[in-house]
């Protein structure tokens, strides 16, 4: 096993969470004894795009995320899996401070983007969420035209210099905007299906098309990280396959982090997988093939093979 990630001499130790000296706790507070070696760290080649250190999240009295430290490699797909209520979506939302929008949420710890702390005072949240975009479970296009959906962000951010007169006249047909909209729709593999009806209402698209539109909308502001919270769970297998192909292609340019309940999907599309289990703990984080072939933690094995509970 000399080629295992744990022992690669060229890799740096980047992440550390639960060690064997730290027994796991369930939500009821009882201690769970591990029956075999517990996972301790994940080493990977390449650079980390985002780094979370000792991240705790409380929703009121509920300790939803417990001391999670985790590094996300750039230009790759990182899957977050675990049962409902395990904290994976909470963790995802910490990465672009979406939890700030929940009044009862209290975040403690550090999250860095390219080495810069995002939980420092004075950070520009609009700019942060432009760099770290998000796609949600249910497609949520604006009730506007396909073109307006994509151009909305760039116009807001001032990335498109639509002339004042044109704007007053309600025209958004500048060359720059046309190029940007076309590029985003092509990146999201939707252009061929909608290019001849750009002024149609986006709500008239199918569910799968709407979700790709939302991905295109996210891409239109040129993000660096794309967070996806179960982006294909509401879609049929064909639409799901298109989204999965898209995620694979996006990882060549962007850093993708995806929460999914579908373990086969995590196995298919991700480079590394983080398993969160009940109690808000990151229990194991490793290359996806290792997680699904030989996980270190018995609890992770029981969870991914459907024996949990």
């Amino acid at each position: 096993m000399s080629d295992s990630p744990q022992t690669q001499p060229q890799s740096q130790t980047r992440t550390k969470t639960t060690g064997s000296d730290q027994p796991l706790e369930t939500t009821s507070g009882e201690t769970v004894e591990e029956t075999r070696d517990e996972w301790t760290e994940y080493n990977f080649d390449g650079e980390a795009k985002m780094v979370a250190e000792d991240l705790d999240v409380y929703y009121g009295d509920d300790h939803a995320l417990k001391s999670v430290s985790m590094e996300i490699p750039e230009q790759s797909v990182t899957a977050l899996i675990g049962p409902s209520g395990c904290g994976k979506s909470t963790y995802l939302r910490c990465l672009n401070r979406m939890n700030d929008r929940i009044n009862a949420a209290n975040v403690d710890g550090s999250v860095q983007l390219d080495g810069n702390e995002i939980y420092q005072d004075g950070i520009n949240l609009v700019e942060l969420r432009k760099r770290v975009g998000m796609v949600f479970q249910s497609p949520n296009p604006f009730p506007k035209s396909i073109r307006d959906n994509i151009a909305y962000g760039p116009r807001k951010h001032g990335d498109i210099n639509t002339g004042l007169l044109a704007r007053l006249l309600g025209r958004d047909d500048s060359e720059a905007e046309r190029e940007l909209v076309e590029r985003a729709l092509k990146q999201a593999a939707l252009w061929d299906e909608v290019h001849d009806r750009m002024d149609d209402n986006a709500l008239g698209l199918s569910g799968g098309q709407q979700q790709r539109l939302c991905i295109a909308r996210c891409l239109s502001v040129d993000p660096e990280v794309i967070l996806m919270d179960e982006p294909a769970s509401a879609l049929d297998p064909i639409a799901t396959a298109k989204i999965e192909d898209l995620i694979h292609d996006l990882a060549e340019e962007y850093t993708v982090v995806i929460v999914t309940h579908n373990m086969q999907q995590a196995a298919r599309i991700s480079d590394q997988t983080a398993v969160f289990l009940t109690g808000g703990k990151l229990v194991e984080y490793d290359d996806t093939d290792r997680i699904f072939e030989n996980p270190q933690s018995q609890r992770v094995e029981d969870y991914i093979s459907g024996k949990f509970g």
Binding site: A267, I304, S305, G309
Partner: protein, 224 residues
């Protein structure tokens, strides 16, 4: 425990693979006994029984494919089904080698090389296969390594046997002009060398079973 039906399918698969192991072990044993006693009826029985082994193999292969397709096993379950899938192939090949041994028996109505202890080689090969299947049944990683280590012993026995046959061939005086005797001798020599080679292959398949079993238990590809 959730996925009870899937867990039951895995337990059934293990029982079926073990049952195939018993079937193949029994056929090998009978082929070796037939060879030893030149029992043509028993040899014929081994040859005719191979179709049943092949059918069993294809059924269990289909079971594994069905588990992959419908249950998408992961982690320990994945390693178990993958290992079983590969082990079935090795067992089927051992059954084919038993058929070879039975065919040599049918041809063995002439002089044999009594100084070559085929039964010792056959017993060791059978033991290795038996131990490998025991390791599979009991998740015994140490026994897997023992099986692999014994392969050197088997190879050594096979090499000595082959050398003995060749040496005997060189030293043997054949009456001038007795063409029939030469033909008979060459037949016997080549048949014996084939028997030795096939028994050595049984050992190789036993090591394969042990290697896949070790991967199944510890995710360790050391022996593969």
């Amino acid at each position: 425990m959730p996925r009870d039906e899937f867990q039951q399918s895995l337990a059934n698969l293990r029982a079926e693979v073990l049952s195939m192991g018993d079937l193949v072990g029994d056929r090998l044993d009978r082929a070796l006994t037939a060879l030893e006693t030149i029992d043509e009826a028993a040899a014929q029985d081994v040859i005719e029984g191979d179709d049943a082994v092949d059918r069993r193999y294809l059924e269990l292969e289909a079971t594994c494919i069905q588990l992959f397709a419908q249950q998408q096993p992961v982690a320990g379950d994945l390693r178990f089904v993958t290992a079983s899938f590969k082990i079935l192939t090795d067992l089927e090949r051992v059954a084919d080698l038993a058929v070879n041994l039975a065919q040599y028996t049918l041809e063995a109505d002439r002089k044999r090389f009594e100084q070559v202890d085929l039964s010792a080689i056959g017993d060791l090969a059978c033991e290795m296969l038996d131990d490998a299947m025991t390791a599979y049944r009991t998740d015994d990683a140490a026994l897997c390594r023992t099986v692999a280590a014994r392969d050197d012993e088997l190879d050594s026995l096979c090499q000595h046997a082959s050398e003995r046959v060749v040496r005997d061939l060189i030293e043997r005086e054949v009456a001038d002009g007795d063409g029939w005797a030469v033909e008979q001798l060459l037949d016997d020599v080549s048949r014996l060398l084939l028997i030795v080679r096939d028994l050595e292959r049984v050992g190789d398949h036993a090591v394969n079973v042990a290697a896949r079993t070790l991967y199944m238990i510890e995710s360790d590809p050391e022996l593969v």
